[in-house]
């Protein structure tokens, strides 16, 4: 539709105001990079969907038949060892599998019982497979191999990498030696790039709550904390009711305080009713007769 803005009206004319708003809506330009962001999000969604629905199937044709919930955890762990990319899948089963796998390998390394098994696992994986699992901006765990072929487990939070230290008193096993060695700078840069790429491709979250308006900020600055009665008294209709309620509350509070002060005396009087506490009756002298002669 082709609308021509009516320029013959003065700016305050209703038609001019309507046309101004409609023109603004009509000429709104999409933000730059919108298509790229949409494409990135679509690619991420498609990849996540393929991983979550096909499990370890190499072809995405199993979308309709694959049931991720039916896969056993053991199978998931085994496949995660073969292909750590599966840990990127959004399903909780794969997250649990990744966590279990990390814990198992950590225990194995710490106790130095299966150093040969660890080396075997590293040799099975072949090429370096450093796959961060990104969820809510926090990389939970990483399992991978160094160029030397040994398994490395590290826990990351944000971009800071904190390699797990070997147990004190550890002997010179292959795993412990590998853990104590820092990664080469190129691998760290690669990690940061992967983190940055994952952050870029992460789905957008809902917008944060809007800031306060000018009126709300004015009200906030005008009110004094701790005195809601004064604020409520600004409401003319409710002011008498609130004032009466506040006075009643104050009176009740004062009575309660006085009663709590006098409570020990009342208890003492009840337990030991002595004569001291009783008001003594002073015998009143007989009124003098006004006329003794009578």
């Amino acid at each position: 539709m082709n609308h021509q803005p009516a320029n013959s009206y003065p700016p305050s004319h209703p038609d001019a105001r309507i046309d101004k708003v409609l023109d603004a809506l009509r000429t709104t330009e999409p933000p730059t990079g919108l298509e790229q962001r949409i494409a990135a999000r679509l690619a991420q969604a498609a990849e996540a969907r393929a991983l979550s629905t096909s499990g370890f199937a190499t072809t995405p044709r199993h979308f309709t038949t694959a049931q991720p919930g039916a896969a056993s955890l053991f199978a998931v762990i085994l496949n995660a060892v073969k292909d750590p990319r599966i840990l990127l899948a959004p399903g909780t089963l794969y997250i649990a599998a990744g966590t279990v796998l990390t814990v198992v390998i950590a225990i194995t390394i710490v106790h130095h019982h299966t150093s040969t098994n660890t080396a075997q696992t590293a040799s099975d994986t072949g090429a370096p497979s450093r796959v961060p699992h990104l969820r809510d901006g926090i990389i939970v765990a990483k399992v991978g191999t160094t160029p030397s072929g040994a398994t490395v487990i590290s826990s990351l939070e944000g971009a800071a990498r904190q390699p797990r230290q070997a147990a004190p008193g550890a002997t010179s096993t292959l795993a412990a030696e590998t853990i104590s060695h820092p990664l080469p700078p190129s691998a760290q840069d690669q990690d940061l790039d992967e983190i940055a790429r994952a952050e870029t491709l992460a789905p957008s979250r809902s917008a944060p709550p809007m800031p306060l308006t000018a009126q709300e900020k004015l009200i906030q600055s005008a009110t004094r904390p701790g005195q809601p009665i004064q604020l409520a008294e600004l409401d003319i209709a409710r002011a008498p009711i609130l004032r009466a309620a506040a006075e009643a509350r104050q009176t009740a509070s004062l009575e309660h305080y006085v009663r709590s002060l006098l409570a020990p005396f009342a208890v003492a009087d009840a337990l030991q009713p002595t004569t001291d506490s009783q008001p003594q009756e002073v015998p009143t002298p007989a009124p003098p007769t006004s006329n003794p002669t009578n």
Binding site: H3, D15, I18, P30
Partner: protein, 199 residues
Amino acid sequence: MASSGRLELPSHWERQWDVAFVSAETPSETDITALVQAYSALLFRVAHSILRNRAESEDVVQDVFLRVLEHKLKLPAIRDLRVWLVRITWNLAIDRRRRIRPDQLDEPFAESLVAHSIPADQALSATRQITATLREIERLPKPERHALLLSAIDELSITEIATILHRSESAVRALLFRARTRLRERLDKNERLEKGTSA
């Protein structure tokens, strides 16, 4: 925005979703990318006419294409993909609008329309006028409001608006006329009231 503003899918679309699509040609990722390039700007404007917020509108457009990705097997059976996408965008924007306080979106949009070179008091007055206009648009009856907002999008013809709103073209024209007339009367009345109050 009225909470009952959600549009319903046309019956022939509903029927099409139930058809078996075994023999239908599956659109590739390239096709979806072409859809993004072709319709993202239009869908952004559709969402923006409802939400009047750029970030929210972009989120809606992304959600639309995610839905397209989910139902990509059924895309070949859709007769008018453009109208279908606009309808999805419209419904998602209305759903999102229900969760947001309208003033939060309209005031920044109104401020963005006011020139920064004018004095502050004039800018404040202009912002109030635009906000009042947007508020009166939201107070219009639902069919009139929908017709007016859709008419603000250049890419949509009267025929397409009629298809989206399930009405005839003459009915859409009548809705547009009534919407503008009602809006003009209300704005005029409000302006007279404000002048009377200030006097």
